[in-house]
């Protein structure tokens, strides 16, 4: 019964990852406190939250790399606590600030993990070459990793996941410390993975990036998931409305006409010819029609898409954190 309920709650059929009441205690402190979530195949799912909110601990439990205190998680139908090898065979993990053996070349580093994965020799070479080409490191394949920049190391980590042909890619803070261009390239690679049907779990506190690539996000706080859903859903929940449209127009009775558009919850008059509307959906076409219909002169029409940044700031502003905890 409870299984059906959880599926119904998360609105997912056949989730590849499903957690129920997942909890991790360190002595008396609780790092992850009874969280539930489900992630669908080829979805990009974002884990958000301040440092020490329990994101990395959750990831490590999914990989069977740390003990589960109570509750359970299933990854691709396997229990990571009992069958960690099957889980790790199918899941790729790029840890926060990934490290490589500096004295070895990029190819040698990948060859070592490929051997640990149990790939045959011929298969190994082909996959390594293809993976390095995908992430744009083919030219430095024979260079020692010691000479690599932060962005190159992250891409090498992603190449490892590509080489593994992982069904799920778990990326922990993959873009922190990257320059804007490297970040851009990296997000592009994540998009490609998604297009291939790989489920991506992305932990980050770079909110705008998460918003750009993630289908759904979960907001962690003090070991709990406090919000979960798509960005517009969260915006409605936290900000009260999804869209804020600013109109700059001249004409009689514009404020009244704008307020009559269906879906608009509020119209503020900012100046003589400037209005701010709050709406549940994108009401720009309706606003334009309303202004023109009233013989007004429309000068500007802009929309503030609900930003994760605003949601995040508003959420933590409304509910001040009760004591900061740090992950062990």
């Amino acid at each position: 019964m409870s299984e059906q309920q959880t599926e119904a709650n998360s609105g997912l059929h056949d989730p590849v990852i499903r957690a129920r009441g997942l909890t991790r205690r360190y002595g008396k402190s609780i790092a992850v406190d009874s969280i539930d979530f489900g992630i669908a195949r080829s979805e990009v799912f974002g884990l958000l939250g301040p440092n020490g909110a329990g994101k990395t601990t959750t990831i490590l439990m999914m990989l069977g790399l740390t003990e589960i205190s109570s509750g359970e998680v299933s990854v691709l139908g396997f229990n990571p606590a009992r069958e960690p090898l099957k889980v790790k065979q199918r899941v790729g993990y790029l840890p926060d600030a990934v490290g490589f053996y500096d004295q070895l070349t990029a190819v040698e580093n990948l060859a070592y993990t490929a051997k640990l994965m149990g790939l045959a020799r011929a298969e190994r070479a082909a996959r390594i070459e293809a993976a390095l080409a995908r992430v744009g490191l083919a030219e430095v394949a024979e260079k020692r990793v010691a000479t690599f920049s932060r962005g190159m190391r992250q891409r090498l980590g992603l190449a490892e996941i590509i080489m593994k042909r992982a069904e799920i890619a778990i990326l922990d803070e993959p873009t922190s410390g990257l320059d804007p261009q490297a970040t851009q390239e990296f997000l592009g690679l994540i998009g490609e993975l998604k297009a291939e049907g790989v489920t991506v779990l992305l932990s980050s506190h770079m909110l705008d990036q998460v918003q750009r690539v993630c289908d759904r996000v979960a907001l962690f706080r003090n070991g709990r998931i406090v919000l979960m859903g798509t960005v517009p859903e969260l915006a409605v929940k936290v900000l009260g409305a999804g869209f804020v449209v600013e109109v700059e127009a001249e004409g009689p009775g514009i404020a009244r006409r704008l307020a009559m558009i269906p879906g608009v919850t509020q119209v503020e008059t900012l100046a003589a010819d400037r209005y701010r509307m709050t709406a549940e959906r994108d009401v720009r076409p309706d606003a334009a029609r309303a202004v023109v219909a009233g013989d007004g002169a429309l000068r500007r029409l802009s929309v503030d898409e609900p930003s994760l940044e605003a949601i995040y700031a508003r959420y933590f502003q409304d509910q001040p954190a009760g004591g900061v905890r740090h992950a062990a």
């Binding site: 790399l65 960690p84 099957k86 790790k88 149990g118 062990a328």
Partner: protein, 320 residues
Amino acid sequence: MRREGSPFRGLSTVFIKELSDHVSSSRILVLQLLILSTALAALYEAISSLRQNTAEDPFLLLRLFTIDQAPLPSFVAILGFLIPLMAIGLGFDAVNSEHNRRTMSRILAQPIYRDALLMGKFLAALATIGISLTALWLLVIGLGLIFLGVPPGGEEIARSAVFLIVAIFYAGVWLSLALLLSTVFRSAATAALVALGIWLFLTVLWPMLAPALAQAIAPVDPRYALLGLNDPATAVWMQELLRLSPNDLFGEAMLAVLSPTTRTLGPVFLDQLRGAVMGAPLPFGESIMIAWPQTVGLIAGTIILFAFSYVLFQRQEVRA
């Protein structure tokens, strides 16, 4: 709760990778040069002394290992002192360097258990030491052939092979200790310092402290002192305390194996010597029996220390 899959999956991969890292590292080169140069110096002294006193000796080759010519100690004594250094050098950063390079979580996210990683690292370091010691052993035998000109007999080879095996286990004790410290301390420098501290304590300070402690525990009976004899109670205590150091166990085992005339490693009572032909060598099997407890002590030490690091490593958080 049983976990599925073999704990040894990936063991050979880790072993080969670590072995190639060790063999190609400059660290091992320095350690080998150190051991080789000191050992060769000791051998040179031994050879020149043997060539001057060509007394008839059925175990000429073994003399190469045990003769000490001031100011240099014997070849075996030098190895007893330097093998721990080599083992510590190979093991002190085995686990913590993976954390510090941030490779630990990436490697453990591959389909292997932690068992394979730790075991692979241990076996690779032990194999590295084994290769070095075997090379050294062959060198000694070769030099013996060239400079002494006497082909070694089967028993001499057998005894020196036992020396090689016991020396590898002796290295195993120190390697396990270094591995344990590398698991306990996140900083490689701290682990190295603590390991070197224990090494210096057990090889240099303990032989001086043990007699003092033995006298405190079992004070010398003045009647023995009047007769100018050692009090057997004090002597036994001293020996038991000394045996806490793997260095002493190695030394005793080597004494029994490489000096065939050794009949016992503890104090001897006169009635035990009744019927003994003094100075006659013991058969190979009997010498092994004398060295056996010490060898078992070294093997047990290796296993216990490794088990400690194994348990600690299994419980350790992956995150740095």
